[in-house]
Amino acid sequence: MTDLRVVVGRGRRRVTAVAGVSFSIFPGETLGLVGESGCGKTTTARAIVQLEDIASGSVVVDGIDLGELDRGSLRLLRRRVQMIFQDPISSLNPRRRVRDIVAEPLNIWNIGSKSDREETVVRLLDAVGMDPESTLDRRPGEFSGGQCQRISIARALAISPNLLVCDEIVSALDVSVQAQIINLLEDIKAEFGLTVLFIAHDLAVVKAISDRIAVMYLGRICEIGPSDTICGEPAHPYTNALMASAAPTSLDTAPKTTRLPGEPPNLLNPPQGCRFSNRCPRAKDRCHIEEPQLSECGKDHLVACHFPTLAKTDDLRS
């Protein structure tokens, strides 16, 4: 698995959900993707797994440009890339039993004998913290949201993909299960040399699992770098704001009052110049005219801002 590059632009009702996003995920790496709701994280993920048409740009997996493949090779490639969805309940077929849901990819790809598959399903359910015996013959409707999510994780892992795209997979889970799933992903990753794109909105969760974090705002990447750098010394004003509104870590800290001013802008009509300029506390004239490009501001650290924070920032969190 080499360099994966994504440049997507998509028009629908003249909405460009993802407007020129580029990043690479290196083999065995976990890249976290965070950003405001509606900024295009899911759309980016769907483009990578070919569920969304790409208007321009390319997705390159293992050196192969997905856009240049015929249907047959695409199908083969799809096996290496699996996605787990944000909405666990509606992504599972309500009429099927758990045993068939988890075995589905194995059946599609015709992997192993019937008893092998059965064994794999039991092992996976166990791995995601479900009791196989009491779950195998139940249907999704009988499970809670979190339990459904674990079932869909088991399904995605069934055919041991190389790249796993996780869209908000722990958002619906309580902290203890969330911790279990993250630890599980870390184990699986180590065991199978898995590469992971981990989308979430909870920075602490993303930080726990990621090597690097990409921050997205309004269809573009505004900052990308090593997890500790992004969380410890964010350079982009939006990342700063995200950090500041992360849930308080101490009880005595009142809920943070520093809120971003203004409304999240409209995708139909993004602000001129820098996309964050209408809400940015640091915006100057230049920001309203010229759109900043991603450029290096530290070791492996890119930021798209004319006036990034370069020195270590004040601890905004407490």
Binding site: G35, E36, S37, G38, T42, Q86, D87, I89, S90, G129, M130, D131, S134, D137, R138, E142, S144, G145, G146, Q147, E168, S171, A172, L173, D174, V175, S176, V177, Q178, A179, Q180, I182, N183, E186, H201, L203, A204, K207, A208, I209, S210, D211, D228, L242, S245, A246, A247, P248, T249, S250, L251, T253, P255, R259, L260, P264, N266, L268, R317, S318
Partner: protein, 346 residues
């Protein structure tokens, strides 16, 4: 909780009969909530939070459900009301924000219609007024271009926007009581803060009571007056927020608090989690449901179920035979030690 309660739930049980046996999702929950107050409900996935909220509202599948106990809202027992009267109450006096917005919103109905429908039904607004209110509501919940959103179908909105639309629908008629099941799950930190602020403002403005169901303890930590912790369909600890965080008595509560990832912790630090998994909802035990996963369990825990009993702190109740010693907890409590913990890679 002080003041006369707006809602009083007593000994509520909800069981589902399935072809595998009886699933006991809610087992004798009693709670009350004062006017304008916030009750947070937290607990592991599958612990029965959603079923509890739906049982209170009477919104359960019609077949194979057994519900017992009473749900008294403003002096009326909802469990004894006929469906027609209930429907009038819902939306107008009590509203609910559902966990899964995609299944709660009607996928083939435009967002605008879903909001105005309720306004016109309950508040008898004209089409024009209802539309204006709908725009105002969507603006309040932070939807960037409300006019456009009104004409869209739920499937065309991002997950977070759908959630905000749900909230707008629920708040449309200024209910007295809002049951919010995971209202900010799936929202990023800045929007989450905005939505919670909004809920809090509206709550004060309208003196609305709220039951905030969430798996994210960070959400309720600073916003709920009282927090209830659920495990296997029961409330195992309930206390004023501060008391719960500084001196949890029940080992499960402590385990939950300990599992919260912190942004100050180095990346790839092994997260602490509670070992094991929740009990099979089909099994009927006689002891403490948490015993198989509890580090403090003794024989008594397996034989006898601990009752929800008061502690020394007013308003703090817990169900445990061998509660934690407050002092011991304080030393290692993650909330009180937000600084870096050393890497605990197993």
């Amino acid at each position: 909780m002080t003041g006369d309660p707006i809602l009083e739930v007593s000994n509520l049980h909800t069981h589902f009969s399935t072809d595998r046996g009886l699933i006991r999702s809610v087992n004798g929950v009693s709670l009350s909530i004062g006017r304008g107050r916030t009750l947070g409900v937290v607990g592991e996935s599958g612990s029965g939070k959603t079923v509890l909220a739906r049982s209170i509202m009477g919104l359960l599948p019609s077949a194979n459900v057994y519900r017992s106990g009473s749900v008294v809202f403003e002096d009326v027992d909802l469990t004894k009301m006929d469906p027609k009267a209930l429907r009038k109450l819902f939306g107008a006096r009590i509203a609910m924000v559902f966990q899964d917005p995609m299944t709660a919103l009607n996928p083939v109905m435009r967002v605008g219609h879903q909001i105005t429908e309720s306004l016109r039904l309950h508040l008898h607004m004209s089409r024009h007024d209802a539309r204006e209110s709908a725009v105002a509501l969507l603006t309040q919940v932070g939807i960037p271009s409300p006019e456009m959103a009104l004409t869209q179908f739920p499937g065309q909105l991002s997950g977070g926007m759908r959630q905000r639309v749900m909230i707008a629908v629920a708040l449309a008629c200024s209910p007295r009581l809002l049951l919010a099941d995971e209202p900010t799950t799936g929202l990023d930190a800045t929007v989450q803060a905005q939505v919670l602020d909004l809920l809090q403002d509206l709550q004060h403005e309208r003196h609305m009571a709220m039951i905030l169901v969430t798996h994210d303890i960070g959400v309720v930590a600073s916003r709920a007056d009282v927090i209830a912790v659920m495990y296997a369909g029961r409330i195992v600890e309930i206390a004023p927020a501060k008391s719960l965080f500084t001196a949890p008595m029940m080992p499960y509560t402590y385990g939950l608090l300990n599992s919260i990832p912190k942004i100050t912790t180095a990346s790839h630090t092994r997260l602490t989690s509670i070992p094991g998994r929740p009990p099979d909802p089909l099994a009927v035990g006689s002891g403490c449901e948490f015993a198989p996963r509890c580090a403090y369990a003794r024989d008594r825990c397996i034989d006898q179920r601990p009752p929800l009993a008061p502690s020394r702190t007013p308003g703090h109740k817990f169900a445990c035979w061998y509660p934690l010693d407050g002092q011991k907890v304080l030393e290692s409590h993650p909330f009180l030690q937000p600084r870096d913990r050393e890497s605990k890679r197993r």
